[in-house]
Symmetry: C2
Subunit: 347 residues, 2 copies
Amino acid sequence: MLRAMAQRVTITDVAREAGVSVATVSKVINQRDGIAAGTATHVRAVVDRLGYESSLVARGLRSHRTGVIGVLVAEFEPFSSEILKGAGAALRGTEHALLAYTGGGSGRAGWEHRYLARLSGTLIDGAVLVTPTVLHAGTSVPVVAVDPHAGPGGLPTVDSDNLHGAVLAVRHLLGLGHRRIGFLGGRADLESSRLREAGYRAALAEAGIPVDPALMHVAEYRRDAADAPTAAMLALADPPTALFAANDLSAMGILDAAARLGVRVPADLSVIGFDDVPEAAATTPPLTTVRQEIQGLGRAAVGMLLTLLGAEGPAGERAGDDAPGAGQHLRLPTQLVVRGTTAVPRR
Amino acid sequence: MLRAMAQRVTITDVAREAGVSVATVSKVINQRDGIAAGTATHVRAVVDRLGYESSLVARGLRSHRTGVIGVLVAEFEPFSSEILKGAGAALRGTEHALLAYTGGGSGRAGWEHRYLARLSGTLIDGAVLVTPTVLHAGTSVPVVAVDPHAGPGGLPTVDSDNLHGAVLAVRHLLGLGHRRIGFLGGRADLESSRLREAGYRAALAEAGIPVDPALMHVAEYRRDAADAPTAAMLALADPPTALFAANDLSAMGILDAAARLGVRVPADLSVIGFDDVPEAAATTPPLTTVRQEIQGLGRAAVGMLLTLLGAEGPAGERAGDDAPGAGQHLRLPTQLVVRGTTAVPRR
DNA sequence: ATGAAAGCGCTAACAC
DNA sequence: GTGTTAGCGCTTTCAT
């Protein structure tokens, strides 16, 4: 069965088959007026018979409006997947389609701009950028950033109360009686990471405990990057009794490392994460963590984008100055979720 | 701040700025030869300075090859999200980009064909269809189906051993001592749903228990659709002591309903699901379920697609007849995961 | 009411 | 080596 790929049916096929011009077919499809009722019916019948559907690409190239919202991510991991679910929920019932994209080399810096340039203007009407690092404003389509880069950045943004969440996490450990608490940081280029570290420091300061540099490492928000720093901290003469990971993925990495090293959690070591992605509850024991409403972040980002898109439309349709969220910064609350990886220290 | 959207920089801008023709720019970008080294360097400098990135759309329209793999889904729910993670993993390190798409009206039947027609040929080189219902072969690009429609369908397919998984689920309940076991079916148009029901019937028959029609309902694989049938079964004079849901989402719906009705799980009612999506472990109590390797399904589907794409390439590059997976049917194993929602019946 | 033609951003023949 | 031209599938003036 070597290749017998049916040719895509194009508007030209429909026009030929219906005995009209492509312009007429286009008008029928887009419900423009100035078409005889009979013609319209006939064309529509042919469209159905041939199973024609207009190419998003050709249409977008020409009309510069596609009805598609893009969610641009570096990778499909648990966090961005939740964002996607939220974005999908926000778009349900609307006329907008949802397109999630991740290019080949997300490793290279500047993926945000590359993806945006590749897709904007011709494929997507607006975009949600998930954890973008560089976000110089002045893009060709409206953009909303989720959990973005540290620093100013003039883009509308949604994120969670990372500082408070981190404080809650460390206070929980402190309340349990821990004094040697290690921190496994995230990506230095992300505001969320910076704030979670700030929260760690603040909570420690609050308890009058000095920060020990030997207890601060980085795992880049990645599961596999947690192994080495965990092993290093555990090998210390005065090892930590608890570890706070900047996200759930790296907390899961700590659990992996602990299992490998024969360290029991939470008996020998308490672990707490951040995010509460669905897989956090599936670890053994289930992970204590700080919940952020990730799907809510996705929903909110799309909501803001829709507002921006509306404000951009034809004059008169423009949303009021008090349009919710446009050009603003939305922050969602965080909350402690105690599960099975934290307990009182044995010493 | 009313609109100041920067214009997208196009190949024309680059050409003008560099003082060459667009063709030259195109050749430089696509590394065609027959370009003076100096020119190439100069053009590349301009590209970088302007931050130019070629439009995926225009490029695809012209060259009919984009290097993008599409994953087409009706909705971003837990199952398709896991597929996406697997697909992303399979594509990591390759030159292919990944694009997940869901259009507005997934409710309407025939979304598979509509999405495919909209995107194929011009935007994506091949597609993975997640739980497609209608899949007449003869598409314009290579397609692999994940957990497809019941019936023949000439498409390459990946799925799990649904029949065996369902048998495992019901045997587990039987082994616990349950005799009144209800079934909450999935989408009648999906092979997986049909097989899970067949497994339910087979396991019951094995135990010599007749199927009671009053204990068989349908929840369409949806969480909210589980409420009514659950309530109905629980209101029976001789209610079930255990419920087997055709997927985790509807099992979670059963848990919702039980909580609402004051029925304790697993004391008063055992519940078992199917899929083991990450959120299954996060319910209270955590859901007993049948695990299928959903990410593995996504990885395998992309693997098959890549083979198909390779086989389609220029002659000589064509993969051997024994190319793994091409045009075939791959089935992954399923396995029982006992957690907290199943127990021995009280009566 | 309908069609011819231009053009969106790009690549691929083919000239020069 | 580089530019010119055509055309991918579509929408949109503008004629007719």
